[in-house]
């Protein structure tokens, strides 16, 4: 597909979110631009608490931004008319991080799984049951689950119900917050394949700490750390050659869960500093001021890179020699033994 650049489903201009005020203010998301164009799925990875779910909630209009605005068809979502809002709801669907908690415990699975499609209208009760059966089948669940309640399913089964539900009404954009965390590798593979197959009609925003999921489903990747997008660019470029020291640690740890980044620190960064400063093995004097992004297509916010570095995305390791502990363990190509 070759689509015009202005073919955006949803755009966010400098959206940010701060919870609380004064000394208690907590900047969950620093002002960020995101634009979803048809067929260009975006992955979001980053540490726990870095603002990934908050960013999705802003895009869904579940949280009001404290900076910037989310636009649907060019209009800020806060000022959509009723009809526009209904269209926005039908266009954008989501699977939340807590699939158990987001399914109404009193409804049966066949009702839950067809809810968005039912809400958009045009279904008889009979065709609704048929749709339920088909959707269950798509996510490898037996038809007899249709008459169960959510708590009678396992964690991974609920997660699959939530995914089937989100794609059931043919939306254009689906926001997935840790969609496959409770699934074993085989079922996970089946679900990722299903989502990838629908990738021609659907565009995704995928939050996942599992980089293999992001690698499969997304074209562009944002790496977040404490509210900041510290790196963004084509997914492959980042996974092949992560530039930010945090991204490098993230990629390096993929095959080694006990991987000790060796610089865990709980000391919070000072105001205005790079938030990674106290954990970063390369921290320098300049790092007490958060740098601006460097680069166009592949951007990084880190003082190790200067604007004259250009777009050389193949150069992953910071300029520190080959004995650098992180660079030497970056091994995205290493197969599982």
């Amino acid at each position: 597909m070759n689509l015009a650049a202005d073919d955006a489903i949803l755009t966010a201009d400098a959206i940010g979110k701060t919870f609380g005020r004064g000394t208690r203010a907590n900047v969950a998301v620093q002002p960020t631009n995101v634009s979803f164009r048809r067929g260009r799925s975006i992955g979001i990875a980053g540490e726990s608490g870095s603002g990934k779910s908050t960013l999705l909630r802003l895009l869904l209009g579940l949280e009001a931004p404290t900076a910037g605005a989310v636009r649907f068809e060019g209009m800020p979502i806060a000022s959509l008319t009723r009809a526009e809002h209904r269209r926005y709801r039908a266009t954008v669907q989501a699977v939340f991080q807590d699939p158990g908690g987001s399914l109404d415990p009193r409804l049966h699975i066949w009702q839950l799984i067809t809810e968005p499609a039912w809400a958009t209208g045009g279904l008889t009760r009979r065709s609704r049951r048929e749709l339920a059966a088909r959707l269950l089948h798509e996510v490898d669940l037996p038809e007899r689950f249709a008459d169960r309640l959510p708590h009678q399913l396992s964690g991974g089964e609920r997660q699959r119900v939530a995914i089937a539900r989100a794609v059931s009404s043919s939306p254009q954009l689906v926001l997935l917050d840790e969609p496959v965390t409770s699934l074993d590798v085989s079922v996970r593979g089946a679900i990722i394949n299903l989502l990838a197959d629908r990738g021609a009609e659907l565009t995704y925003a995928v939050v996942s700490h599992d980089l293999t999921v992001i690698a499969h489903l997304t074209d562009e990747l944002l790496i977040m750390y404490q509210g900041f997008v510290v790196e963004r660019g084509p997914t492959d470029a980042i996974l092949d050659a992560p530039r930010h020291p945090y991204s490098q640690a993230l990629v390096a740890a993929v095959h080694d869960p006990l991987h000790d980044t060796g610089y865990d620190s709980d000391v919070p960064a000072g105001a205005g500093a790079c938030p990674f400063i106290n954990r970063c093995p390369f921290a320098m004097e300049q790092c007490v001021v958060m740098p601006d992004p460097v680069g166009q297509i592949h951007q990084v916010r880190c003082h190790l890179y200067s604007p004259d570095d250009g777009e050389d995305t193949t150069r992953g390791a910071p300029p520190l020699g080959s004995s650098d502990p992180i660079a030497s363990t970056v091994n995205v190509t290493g197969a599982h033994q």
Binding site: N26, G155, R160, D177, Q226, D264
Partner: protein
Amino acid sequence: MTASTTTSDVPAATAPGDPLLQISNLSVEASTSAGTVRLVDGLDFEMRRGEVRAIVGESGSGKSTVCLAILRLLAENARISSGTITFDGERIDDAREPALRQMRGRKIGIVFQDPLSALDPVRRIGPQLGEARRVHGLGSRGQVAGWVRETLGSLGFSNPARSARSFPNMLSGGMRQRVCVGIAFSAEPKLVIADEPTTALDVSLQGRLLRLLLARREASGTAVLLVSHDVAVVRAVADRVTVMFGGMALEEGPAADVFAAPGSPYTAALLASVPTMSPERRRARMSTIPVATVAPSPSGCPFAGRCRREVDACRQAPPPTVWLAPAHHVRCFNPERQP
């Protein structure tokens, strides 16, 4: 390695080295509108003090049900239909509610699979995290508050004081999950049952949490029953592993042996599905275990229909136990390898 326990609270029958948890022939059934279904079928295993045992297996294979059965927290429509569970020298499969309440939290810490709904939404994090210590008299008010801040710090919270004052909905998914892990260990239990405790964590925090868990085992001999779909995690921390499919433990043995040379065709197929990140595989389809063309027969092996080593017998009777090594067995008619 068997960690020592203070002898005073060890009943005479359980000298160190005796099993802490013993499950034999455990079956769990549930009644549904479509009749009775068997969720767990004839499960056996033992855990020693300080041991880390992992349960891996297919989504829906009964892993959480096993955890809930041990804690006696099965859903209303489900019950233990046969077998015994012995914990710390006492039968708990038929214990009464007051004794069970004593046991939960204090002797057995729990991390539920749905950590996001496990916290009380209207109470602040600090008091919830410190509650078990306060209730069980493990320190004064001030000491507990100090312990809470210290624990939040060690769980990777960059601002422990702020997080302690927060309500659960003000924390991210991974933060809540870490709080739940802290609660599970808070009363210094003998066993922690952790159902998918690292699902919401990025790899660097996950590593930190796992190292913390191993440190607790070293320091106080806490045994851990870890349910995880993450093969890399299990490989890194577990001493022994149980592989479940369709309610049955199809393989049981030392983690290193099971992963190096799986004996059950299901384990082998599961390991073969572990994705790699190699650039040429990234956009390729993920490998999966093909779905069954014919449903397995209820009396046969649950993996029949999807198994590439299936023989005629597999649909006729429950698979027999085959010992591959003194502490490693599979249930299979046609294992990947012979003893």
